[in-house]
Amino acid sequence: MNLVDYLDPLVAALMLAGIYAAMSVGMTIIYGVMKIVNLAHAGFMMMGAYFAYELFERFHIDPVLGAVIALPVFFCFGVGVHWLLVRWLPKSDQPTLSSLLLMFGFWLVLQNVAYLIWQTEDRSINTSYTVSSTVIGPITLSHVRAIVFVAAVISVAALQMLLRRSWFGRSVRAMIQNPFAAQIYGVNERKTAMFTFGLGTAFAGFAGALLALLYPFSPDFGRQFLLRSFVIIVLGGLESFSGVAIGALILALVETFSILIPGVEASYQPAISFALLVVVLLLLPRGIAGLLEKKWRVA
């Protein structure tokens, strides 16, 4: 195998990293602001996938447009979930037992309501561009992957803009850095938490809809991506957005290139994610961001 042959998996890994970043970023902001490990993220992703599927099957709306529609819909859904359940949780600056179990219970409910509605069989979205691809030199570029990559990158960039430029974004970043000081300076903790939860849910739904373009899905869909999101945000240092991008890239590279090693089958991917998690915890407990922080602050 010469060097050019590595170019193809490299591009594939990059494409994968885009959607990985989009699916993890929602979890990061929720953890950062509320210190809730949002296990229901998997359920929201699964709902996003079925949302795009239903729009496509019933109204022939393109799944990428469906993903964009999912953003406001899931934002409202997330705000509703926060109003109904999450706001009753005791506040803490560390993840609590009750928040974990509550979000987990909600995930179970979402998952099994989906089982009741859509049954157990795998479904997939087949558009006109699902199997088409372009060959550029040694690289085979799948159209659907490229489209998903572009959509994911635009969304993450838009989120970054929102967090950098708006008052809401500033209060989110302040809450992540120091919730007490932020409140002294006039950040409305409850409103910020509510919008953050909505935003995190919106991104979960969006990412789920995009993932539905790439993989077949069932009501258990979110789980394998939940673990990946965890590995990514741990790699990124739990609360850092730039860390998420780097973490997504590392996981995508490791997953893509591990298949090239003889004897490692694709079914070992969960084991690979887990091994990566353990290695990171042992070597870099504060993630990439912890490593970078010595040089410059990553919010």
Partner: protein, 333 residues
């Protein structure tokens, strides 16, 4: 003295009744229900040690259950005594618990929970691809001698009694106190000379050993092991729910929760697959929002209602004084 007898008498009476039950001529179906419930109780008691006492939520107990089952099965097939085989199951689970605990308990924050979600996936995939245990097609346990259901019933019952005694001893001991201190405030506990790292690690190891034994007992009964069943994420969920439903961090919670989960899994799952998980989810949300102490908390509230009429003795509210508003509230991981 009288108080002591009153406290010890009900569990012993219960044990005597359960020991005598098979002689009364129970139907095989009921014996099976009891057996499965006992196995669930053991796993719940184990989970409660690390999740309830020390406050470390784990979604990965299916790993210990499955490894215990496989280790016991391998030993029995190699011709070993079943009880030594069960100990081997406990040992295998303990080793696995260190693999999860060593990297994660060193850190603060949600790392342990995250790792426990990953470890089930990873181990199930590995066991499904492993050659010498038959991979995904499962593994058969061939034990010499005829199959007697009652023997398994008694094995499981004795194991529940032992597990419950361990849980009671830990709850009363300095070790248990240290675990509760860690759950409430890790920094304060560390200041008083409790090393959170080693205490969590050992609580996790004991919990894993109990769960491994439960898996082994199940393996001897089931005769056939399917990695997609014993290592399923759902198995881990059921184990976690037992103490949560019964009353997290209480000695008797896993027993009550085990009864509920055992009946649900054995009776409801056959008739309505998937409904039970929906039920679990709703139950979990309701418990967290309204009664974090589960069934034990409900019973305590009921007994307080009655007691109020005869003048408040105050023993029921001791927990509130000791643990704040409730055990779950605002506690960090």
């Amino acid at each position: 003295m009288k108080d002591r007898i009153l406290k010890i008498a009900p569990p012993l009476l219960l044990l005597a009744v359960l020991l005598a039950l098979p002689a009364a001529g129970l139907s095989p179906n009921l014996v099976r229900l009891f057996f499965i419930t006992f196995v669930f109780m053991i796993t719940g008691i184990g989970w409660n040690l690390v999740g309830g006492f020390a406050g470390q939520v784990s979604f990965g107990f299916a790993v210990f259950y499955g490894l215990g089952a496989y280790a016991t099965a391998l030993m029995i097939n190699a011709g070993s005594n079943p009880f030594i085989a069960l100990l081997a199951g406990a040992g295998a689970a303990m080793v696995a618990s260190f693999l999860v605990g060593l990297p994660t308990f060193r850190l603060r924050g949600p790392y342990f929970v995250i790792a426990t979600i990953g470890v089930t996936e990873a181990v199930r995939v590995m066991m499904s691809n492993m050659g010498f245990t038959g991979g995904a097609s499962g593994y058969r346990v061939t034990e010499h001698g005829e199959f007697r259901q009652v023997e398994h019933y008694y094995t499981a019952l004795v194991a529940v009694a032992i597990a419950l005694s361990i849980s009671m001893l830990i709850s009363k001991s300095r070790f248990g106190l240290a675990l509760r201190a860690i759950k409430q405030d890790q920094d304060a506990a560390a200041d008083l000379g409790v090393n959170p790292y080693t205490f969590k690690l050992w609580a996790h190891a004991i919990a894993a050993a109990l769960t491994g034994v439960a898996g082994g007992i199940y393996a001897r009964y089931a005769i056939f092991l399917d990695p997609g069943d014993v290592f399923a994420f759902q198995k881990g969920i059921s184990i976690l729910l037992i103490p949560v439903i019964g009353g997290i961090g209480t000695v008797w919670g896993p027993i009550l929760g085990g009864l509920v989960v055992g009946i649900v899994e054995e009776q409801l799952v056959v008739k309505f697959p998937n409904i039970h998980l929906l039920l679990y989810g709703i139950l979990l949300i309701l418990i967290i929002l309204f009664e974090p102490d589960g069934i034990v908390g409900l019973l305590r509230k009921l007994s307080n209602l009655f007691r109020r009429n005869r003048g408040n003795s105050g023993s029921g509210s001791a927990d509130k004084v000791l643990w704040g508003r409730s055990r779950l509230e605002g506690r960090e991981l």
